[in-house]
């Protein structure tokens, strides 16, 4: 009798849908807070959110981030305010995807996205530059650097209202 019960279980599972996902053809949906590859965000008008403050690099426990800043002008504007990231690099071999950079960012410019397919054949390829990290220009926005009206984008960090 026990034998029959055993076989019944086996046959039952033979008829069930398989649980295996056929990766990479088939990709499981991610949890919303999954911490994958970093993305540098833009405002709707196309300006970069990143102001090159290097706080992500300071927060990084693995010393994976390298930022060099430069000054914006109204003729060539990358981000609001005076400062933008001239160089922004993340060494994905060092990164431990802890998300501290995201926490440290004062403008919510760096966000850990859902991209997880990170494989390299040499060490140099593991260094993701700003061009690779930054989001595409949103619809209706302009690519950076932009030529803008003087005196419009004077604030690097969005105004925060009184604490409620």
């Amino acid at each position: 009798m026990n034998v029959i019960r055993g076989f019944a279980t086996t046959f039952k599972h033979l008829l069930e849908e398989p649980v295996t996902y056929q990766y990479p053809e088939q990709i499981r949906p991610f949890a919303e807070r999954y911490k994958g590859r970093h993305e540098l965000k833009r405002y709707d008008n196309g300006l970069e959110k990143c102001i090159g403050c290097s706080l992500c690099a300071a927060a990084c426990p693995a010393d994976a981030i390298w930022v060099e800043a430069a000054e914006n002008t109204d003729e060539a504007r990358y981000s609001p305010g005076e400062r933008y990231a001239k160089t922004y690099e993340i060494n994905m071999l060092r990164c431990i995807f802890c998300g501290y950079c995201e926490d440290a960012c004062p403008t919510e410019a760096i966000v850990l996205g859902h991209e997880h397919r990170l494989s390299f054949t040499n060490r140099k390829d593991a260094i993701f530059t700003k061009d690779m990290l930054i989001d595409p220009v949103p619809e209706g926005g302009q690519a950076t650097p932009q030529k803008v009206e003087p005196g419009v984008f004077t604030r690097a960090i969005p105004d925060m209202e009184d604490p409620k």
Binding site: C53, S54, A58, A69, R83, P106, A156
Partner: protein, 827 residues
């Protein structure tokens, strides 16, 4: 000894010198950091920011008996003041009692910070000061977590106001402490900043044209307690915590300011280490916590595109080809072997002591002693070695009862930090006598000014005895004579140094601290050149009798001397060790060897006060460049002079063994530091600003002959014959701090401030020649290409004299005083 008074800080008793400021005393003796914004230990207190409020009282004494009143517990009774008092405007006095940690004090601090933050922007992430900001630190320490002020009331002001070309003002960040205004007024004496408007509309403005017109503007960014003032050079260069500090010595003038090179890797520089900014490093005896703008912004030459990166050898065709070090050294060795002992060397004053020793050893091995110092404009180093300012001299201690004589030098242009410190000495009551043929900036601070005829500095000094100023000098407690060489030949400058030394000997102002002679020699290591046997007299000899092979190290002969091409033509082979590929290297060198700048290697300089100071490696070499001592030492190895040295420290050991002046000097000794007053550079950036604490060494001052107790004989000081003009005009070369030397040209930022090449002409001469202010004139001098410059007729030159600043154009101005003809040029 100074009187001490007994004060009580937080129930602990301390004995402190009378007259000391309470903030300073609490910090120095009680290790109690009273927070401040507007107070600075180098300036007078104003009590504007109210951050230093403390509970203050005095020990109560019975008025009739003078006895201390005791309370019921037998403790002395304290009469507390009804309100909190500002510590910075309080001078310590006997029986003073303060408390700095009570709830009342903490509340007051919190309120002050909250108030300062009402309109301060939340800019910290993009602010250059963020990370080393007094306001940021004090907010974290004492400030409230949240503000009660309405956000909508925040002031919105201009965040990008250029105060001149070098400094930017962010009006929003300014907390109106007036440190910058007071620094310019009190410390520098260039009153170019001011407050504009009142109350909430108050702003910092500059009232000079061009804006912020001073040589010391960078220091205001150091003492600014917020990020309101930032330098254009470092703007967004890096965050302070990312920088590595390397102690170094400024390579631009004889003051030898202690600096700190802040370095970081740089992507645009090939991922290599790069100097991001230059900051002052505290050395109270040399530069206190200040540096001039040339030192701060003049570091770009170390990685200029003009840097020589590979060894070059000139082939038969006359073209230079890049070679390996081995081949280039072999070519140099071959030329030296062929010349036998007919070899000479000219060393520039940017060479370190180690380089100079290696060069001297190389020539000694070849049997030559012809060691020339460049530029050959100032003699007098040998006089300084005998009666220079005494060991332990600190210009910052000169004051009432002391006297300073500045002669034949435009200190503002030649040694700005000496000028700043002597100005302060005059403010403290020292008698400052300025003597020059023409008006200079120093006149503004002088108690008395004497203008003599051009070239007659020695006569004027000899005649001083009969003047009314003599008493002030002779009876001064301390006397420092600062002697330059403006308007003098080399012999004339030697005579001037001698005459100055004679005055010092006569009035017994030698062999003791704060008295003696200072020579305003050109370059960072002119005294090192002297101690290692390089003399300007030998240079003149080399110019007259050129050798077969001439080794030129870091000396820009063609740009310094208009006659250089003329006499260098007689030299068969020139071996050039240089930083730069243009100039001598490109035009004349048979073998050119690339050497490292001060930023790329270890070494030591001797400053004008004879202080041996050490600098450290900050950035990597450019191309294949080697330190000069190493290149020369390897060249010596090729010539069979023994194995090459392996480190600068090892070379210094050899110097210490062989040169008496350097006895006891070693890199280890040079690196020694001790606690300095005021105690800046600690965690409390609000106290002294962002100048760095000295961790690289205070240096060792070489004793003079007089310091060692030797009797110094009087010097020969025969007055030089004034140059025979025969109807021509006397051409006096002068020095401008901002110029177009190869070591300053790459600092593009400052170049807007470098004047177009000009000559100062007296109005009477100009009228005779039909020249007007602003005309282009041509100055013809024997053996030299004619100079085309703009004429300035504005009272800067005495009659019969034309002042020609050197290094303002690619055509060399005369090296020493000479005669020439001036004519109006077309166009």
């Amino acid at each position: 000894m100074t009187n001490t008074v007994r004060i009580i800080i937080n129930d602990q008793t301390y004995d402190v010198p009378a007259g000391m400021n309470l903030v300073d005393a609490a910090k120095w003796y009680a290790n109690d950091d009273i927070p401040v914004f507007c107070y600075h230990p180098k300036m007078e207190p104003v009590g504007m920011c109210r951050m230093c409020l403390v509970e203050m009282g005095t020990i109560e004494k019975d008025r009739a008996t003078g006895q201390v009143v005791l309370d019921e517990n037998g403790q002395s009774k304290v009469r507390w003041m009804p309100k909190l008092q500002t510590a910075c405007t309080t001078t310590v006095s006997d029986g003073l009692v303060i408390r700095t940690q009570t709830q009342q004090v903490q509340d007051a601090r919190q309120n002050v910070v909250e108030f300062l933050l009402t309109s301060h922007p939340l800019d910290c992430p993009i602010c250059d000061k963020g990370g080393e900001c007094p306001l940021q630190n004090l907010t974290m320490e004492h400030g409230p977590g949240v503000s009660r002020m309405a956000f909508s009331d925040k002031m919105r002001l201009d965040k990008h106001v250029p105060l001149g070309d070098l400094i930017f003002l962010d009006e929003e960040r300014c907390i109106q402490c007036a440190r910058c205004v007071r620094f310019q007024d009190e410390v520098v004496g260039d009153d170019v900043l001011a407050f504009h408007e009142r109350g909430r509309s108050l702003q910092i403005i500059t009232n000079s044209e061009p804006g912020f017109d001073t040589y010391f503007s960078g220091n205001t960014t150091d003492i600014c307690p917020v990020g309101a003032l930032t330098t254009a050079d470092f703007r967004f260069g890096a965050r302070p915590w990312e920088l590595t500090e390397v102690p170094s010595i400024c390579p631009h003038c004889p003051v030898g300011c202690n600096i700190s090179l802040s370095t970081r890797l740089d992507r645009d520089f090939g991922g290599k280490t790069l100097i991001k900014r230059v900051m002052p490093r505290q050395n109270e005896q040399v530069n206190e916590i200040w540096i001039c703008d040339k030192g701060r912004f003049g570091h770009h030459f170390s990685r200029s595109e003009d840097r020589l990166e590979d060894p070059l050898v000139r082939e038969r065709s006359g073209r230079l080809f890049a070679k390996s070090w081995t081949d280039a050294l072999a070519a140099a060795a071959e030329a030296l072997k062929a010349a036998g002992s007919d070899v000479a060397a000219i060393a520039g004053s940017g060479m370190s002591n180690e380089d100079l020793w290696a060069l001297r050893q190389l020539l000694a091995g070849l049997g030559s002693r012809r060691l020339g110092a460049w530029p050959p404009t100032h003699a007098g180093a040998e006089v300084v070695a005998q009666v220079g300012v005494g060991q332990g001299t600190n210009l910052g201690q000169l004051g009432r009862g002391d006297a300073v004589l500045v002669i034949a030098s435009d200190l503002e242009e030649e040694a700005p930090i000496w000028r700043l410190r002597l100005k302060q000495a005059a403010d403290r009551g020292a008698f400052l006598l300025v003597m020059n043929a023409r008006p200079t900036r120093m006149d503004d601070f002088a108690a008395q000014t004497i203008h003599y005829e051009t070239g007659e500095a020695v006569q004027a000094l000899l005649a001083l005895k009969d003047s009314d100023a003599w008493k002030q000098l002779a009876e001064a407690h301390n006397l420092v004579i600062v002697a330059g060489a403006e308007g003098l030949s080399l012999d004339g400058s030697r005579a001037l140094a001698g005459a100055a030394a004679n005055i010092l000997l006569e009035t017994e102002h030698v062999g003791k601290p704060n008295s003696g002679l200072l020579a305003v020699l050109p370059g960072a290591n002119a005294m090192g050149l002297h101690y290692l046997g390089f003399t300007p007299a030998a240079t003149l000899d080399i110019m007259q009798n050129p050798p077969k092979v001439l080794i030129v190290t870091q000396a820009d002969l063609l740009l310094d001397d208009p006659t250089a091409a003329h006499w260098l033509a007689k030299v068969e082979t020139i071996i050039s060790l240089d930083l730069f590929a243009s100039g001598l290297t490109q035009q004349l060198a048979a073998v050119a060897l690339p050497i490292q700048s001060f930023a790329e290697r270890d070494g030591s300089y001797v400053n004008g006060e004879r202080r041996v100071q050490r600098f450290y490696t900050a950035q990597g070499p450019m191309g294949q460049a080697l330190p000069a001592w190493q290149a020369l030492s390897r060249l010596g190895e090729q010539l069979g002079q023994g194995t090459a040295k392996l480190s600068a420290a090892a070379v210094m050991v050899e110097i210490a063994q062989n040169v008496p002046a350097f006895a006891g000097v070693s890199f280890k000794e040079l690196a020694k530091v001790e606690r300095q007053y005021p105690d800046v550079g600690g965690k409390d950036l609000y106290y002294g600003g962002t100048a760095y604490r000295n961790r690289g060494g205070l240096g060792i001052q070489i004793p003079t002959a007089a310091d060692q107790g030797q009797t110094v004989a009087r010097f020969e000081a025969a007055a030089d014959e004034p140059p025979k003009t025969r109807g021509k005009l006397v051409i006096v070369p002068s020095v401008r701090l901002y110029n177009r030397e190869r070591t300053f040209r790459p600092s593009a930022l400052v170049h807007a401030r470098v004047p177009e090449a000009y000559a100062e002409i007296n109005s009477a001469d100009a009228k005779k020649l039909g020249i007007q202010d602003g005309d282009t004139v041509e100055i013809a001098i024997q053996n030299a290409p004619a100079l085309r410059v703009r004429a300035h007729v504005n009272g800067g030159a005495p009659k019969g004299t034309v002042i020609v600043p050197r290094h303002l154009s690619d055509t060399a101005a005369p090296l020493a005083v000479t005669v020439g003809e001036v004519s109006k040029a077309e166009g």
